[in-house]
Amino acid sequence: MQKRMPGRLDLQQLYDEHAQALFAFLMNFTRDQHDTRDLLQEIFIKLARQPSLLSGARDLRAFLLRLAHNSAVDLMRRRGARGKYHEQFGVEQFSAFNADNNPDERAFREALSTALGELPEDQRAVVHLKIWENLTFEQIAQTLDIPPNTAASRYRYGLDKLRTLLRPLYDEIK
């Protein structure tokens, strides 16, 4: 039986345990599947090159999300013009949510995806981490390198905006 290298085993395990969460976060942040893939690849290459990065991490998931966030912010800065192009001309953006057979649910998910796209990136990141990663404000603050109060206020603003944008549909299907 071929012996597996420790590095390969770690990377695989890391991928199996955290890639889905990173994918969802990056999809929500970048709104683009190609960018998400590039960033995910970049993160795993970084980890492969420097396995010591993980040695200091207390919460592995939070650390990886932080890595993903920093890479995404860098990418957004590099591709600022392209982001504007997406916004202005409505180039196809991938939804971060699964398709649903129920038409009401499908409509709500599409509306939610659009509403999330209208949030500023920093609010969107906090909302994602709070709602879909179930992180506390303390953990979010550590992940995004912001004070906990800022994380809480960004979440409140983001959620209020989502509520305003989705209220008609939400009230209708409730």
Binding site: G7, A19, L40, F44, I45, R49, F97, R109, L159, L162
Partner: protein, 181 residues
């Protein structure tokens, strides 16, 4: 902080699954970059070359190849010129320059015949007069300066004088001697 119904509704929305074909590709690409793989592939020197190649050359390979091509062209032109020189071929510009040099040498020869040989020996250094004792300098200096003033005034009034000697042992003192012609 308790979640309200709206937040719970959001939470129930299932996120998309990561495409399954990404796993192999991402892990394989990452695997190729692990230090263990690089270490296993090559000894230290080759590893340094590989790292240098990956970090320096690969990111801007077109620029490097362009420069290499340019260097090759320069080298070929240089080699061609050296080859031509060694074969006895003289460029037209070199021929013109040697003709000019010969013409200048002829002109110099004519100048020497007309004016005599040019003395190229180093010039004799100027002799500095030793300063007189301070007591002598004061009185004579004043007198000589006064004399010079008179002589200059006379020269401007129409008389002709010849300057015999001018010495300046000190910058503050100018001694001019005149003789009426």
């Amino acid at each position: 902080m308790n979640m309200d119904d709206f937040e719970k509704k959001l939470q129930r929305q299932t996120l998309r699954q990561i495409p399954s074909d990404w796993r192999e590709a991402i892990l394989q690409t990452a695997q190729e970059r692990t230090p263990a793989t690089v270490q296993r592939l090559a000894p230290m020197l080759i590893r340094a070359v590989l790292i240098a190649w990956r970090e320096l050359v690969q990111p801007c390979r077109y620029a490097w190849f362009g420069m290499a091509a340019l260097w090759l062209i320069f080298w070929m032109v240089n080699a061609h010129t050296q080859l031509a020189d060694s074969a006895g071929w003289v460029a037209p510009s070199t021929r013109v320059a040697s003709e000019r040099i010969r013409f200048l040498k002829d002109q110099r020869q004519v100048l020497v015949e007309l004016t005599g040989p040019i003395d190229l020996s180093p010039a004799e250094p100027t002799r500095r007069t030793l300063p007189k004792p301070r007591t002598d300098r004061g009185a004579s200096g004043h007198n000589q300066v006064g004399m010079a003033r008179c002589a200059v005034r006379a020269a401007f009034s129409g008389s002709t004088y010849a300057v015999l000697r001018t010495t300046a042992p000190h910058p503050a003192q100018l001694i001019i001697e005149f003789q009426r012609c």
